[in-house]
């Protein structure tokens, strides 16, 4: 699901100024990215093979009609760029973000926002297994100054997701069909 990535899980206004309890900050939980499991990729490949007539390109429409549930399952992890990241690489990404950056910007402008702080970052792996998040998801919690422009935009829905910027090596995987025995 394209919109499953970088989604806001919840927003909570936090009163954190002691006895006065003035609203000064807000908390936002984000799923930054979801892992793509080898099992799902195998399912996608199997589906492609199952519904491909030799010598012809995969007929996605026919495949969807024949096996919609498997198709939904297999296609779910694709992001808006048609790209995926395996769980191990997602873990590396989450770790190097904490080690080397911890910076939060807006709309990829590369200006670190003092009004937005990273207060939590974790992977929803087996040890966590929170039902609130996609299994294996990279989750971050941001604390945003309540009077800031960023918080206004979050409440207004103008900032409604997160995205990450990173250097990656992109490996193309051709969805196998009988006519294309060699996957890249």
């Amino acid at each position: 699901m394209v919109t499953a990535y970088g989604r806001i899980v919840s927003i909570r206004k936090a009163a954190t100024s002691g006895k006065v309890r003035t609203l000064t900050e807000g908390l936002v939980w984000f799923e930054v990215y979801l892992p793509f499991s080898p099992e799902k990729f195998a399912a996608l490949q199997a589906l492609a093979q199952l519904h491909t007539v030799e010598g012809q390109a995969l007929n996605f429409a026919a495949a969807k009609l024949a096996d919609p549930e498997l198709y939904r399952l297999a296609a779910e992890p694709l992001d808006s760029h048609g790209e995926v990241m395996l769980a191990a690489d997602l873990q590396q990404l989450a770790h190097v973000f904490l080690i080397e950056s911890r910076k939060i910007d807006v709309m990829h402008d590369e200006v670190d926002r003092a009004t937005v702080a990273l207060v939590e970052s974790f992977l929803n792996v087996e040890e966590v297994a929170s039902p609130h998040y996609f299994p294996g998801a990279w989750v971050v919690v941001l604390r945003v100054a309540a009077g800031s422009e960023e918080w206004r935009k979050i409440e207004a829905g103008e900032l409604n997701a997160v995205s990450f910027g990173a250097t990656v090596t992109k490996i193309p995987i051709v969805i196998k069909t009988p006519a294309t025995p060699e996957a890249a």
Binding site: V2, S80, K103, G165, T169
Partner: protein, 412 residues
């Protein structure tokens, strides 16, 4: 998987769906400084796009937008004035189902059509019951051409170059403003050329203009020539001419006209080797030089900065990316034609084989490939996995370069 998701899938050079797996993530900029960000974003644009794609039913009658590739190539060359009015916006980001589905449809149909014609010709040549193989192949080629032309006309409104366009382009390139597009010129001259052209031309200063300029020039000229050839053949067909040799001759004449009007060259001088495929093969050699140049360029060093710095390199990379898929196809295309020729001769029909067949096949391949190129979506995205260089031991993909170099994978 919904049609919307299918439209978002990347495809390989054969039009087959691919998934790109992002691996080895890091957050160190090429200069060694930390640079990774988690970014608060407005994902509304994506969501609106998906919503538009999902509500495709009522929009089927709308004309699809021209391809991203064709529009961007022309725009990057300062030739946006050749595009249909109001085409640029939709070309950048299709907002209708029709526009978004046009490319997948074309890829699938194009792939199937090429496979079908190849199979048909192979079977004709192998079938001893078919004595007049020339006529049989010609008939199938005509059917193939008619099918593809109809398909293109039906599913896309990609830029179609007419003889009028070719002439206008030739006049433009022959002018002072057009001439300054290709060689390396001082920035002021380039800016003047951009202003005159009404678009952006981003040729980094100091680059080997004789290579980049000539290659880009020849590529565009050949595209136009091939498109003009196809248009002439189509026009001849519409006029009732059925003889494939005659139609091919008209296509050749149109191509020669383009070379003459664009480059100011006499047809004989412009086509010393005779066929469009051979012309394009020469361009392929030039493209190889460009790739070598890019591979040798080391972002960050003094020489690189002197020739325009990162911005210039980014533009060069985009242009290279647009060139490479086309260039990579050329050897295979030529090889296919040569094999076909050998097969014809090997079938014992060499003496009887109509010499025009090979010309038809060659011109057809070049012309239709040009159409395919115009319909091709953002080629730089397809080449995202081609590493142009390495910085600090980390491969930087081409697709990363145009986006802040190190932070380019907005996924939200």
């Amino acid at each position: 998987m919904t049609p919307a998701q299918i439209a978002l899938l990347n495809t390989d050079e054969n039009g087959l769906p691919i998934i790109r797996v992002m691996s080895d993530p890091g957050m160190i900029k090429p200069d060694g400084t930390p640079g990774g960000f988690v970014s608060l974003v407005d994902a509304g644009a994506n969501q609106r796009r998906i919503a538009a794609l999902k509500s495709a039913g009522g929009e089927a009658a709308q004309p699809p937008a021209p391809s991203r590739y064709g529009a961007r190539l022309l725009s990057s060359l300062g030739l946006a004035w050749l595009l249909p009015q109001a085409a640029e916006k939709s070309a950048e980001s299709p907002t209708t189902f029709s526009a978004s589905i046009a490319m997948p449809l074309f890829r699938e149909h194009w792939w199937a059509a090429k496979s079908a014609i190849s199979t048909a010709i192979r079977n004709i040549l192998a079938d001893p019951a078919i004595l007049d193989k020339t006529a049989a192949v010609s008939t199938e080629l005509d059917a193939f051409k008619a099918h593809v032309v109809a398909m293109v006309a039906q599913i896309t409104a990609a830029p179609q170059f007419t003889a009028k366009h070719a002439t206008e382009l030739g006049q433009f390139l022959a002018s002072d403003a057009g001439a300054t597009l290709w060689p390396a010129e001082p920035a002021t001259s380039r800016e003047a050329a951009e202003k005159a052209a009404g678009g952006g031309v981003h040729v980094p200063s100091g680059e080997p203009a004789s290579t980049l300029g000539e290659t880009m020039n020849l590529l565009l000229i050949s595209q136009l020539a091939a498109a003009a050839s196809e248009t002439a053949i189509k026009t001849a067909t519409a006029a009732g001419i059925t003889d494939p040799v005659q139609k091919a001759a008209r296509g050749d004449a149109a191509a020669a006209h383009v070379f003459k009007s664009v480059a100011g060259m006499a047809p004989d001088a412009a086509l010393p080797t005779g066929t469009l495929a051979e012309q394009i093969a020469r361009i392929s050699a030039g493209g190889s030089q460009l790739q070598q140049f890019a591979a040798l360029t080391n972002p960050g060093d003094a020489a690189f900065n002197a020739m325009g710095g990162m911005a210039g390199f980014q533009q060069l990379a985009v242009k290279l990316n647009a060139l490479v898929p086309t260039l990579e196809k050329i050897p295979a295309m030529v090889e296919t034609v040569e094999k076909l020729s050998a097969t014809v001769n090997g079938a014992g029909e060499g003496d009887k084989a109509e010499p025009g067949i090979m010309q038809i096949v060659t011109d057809l391949a070049a012309g239709l490939d040009a159409v395919a190129k115009h319909l091709k979506p953002d080629a730089s995205e397809e080449l995202a996995n081609k590493s142009l260089t390495e910085v600090n031991g980390r491969k930087i993909t081409a697709a990363k370069i145009p986006n802040a170099f190190n932070l380019a994978s907005p996924t939200g």
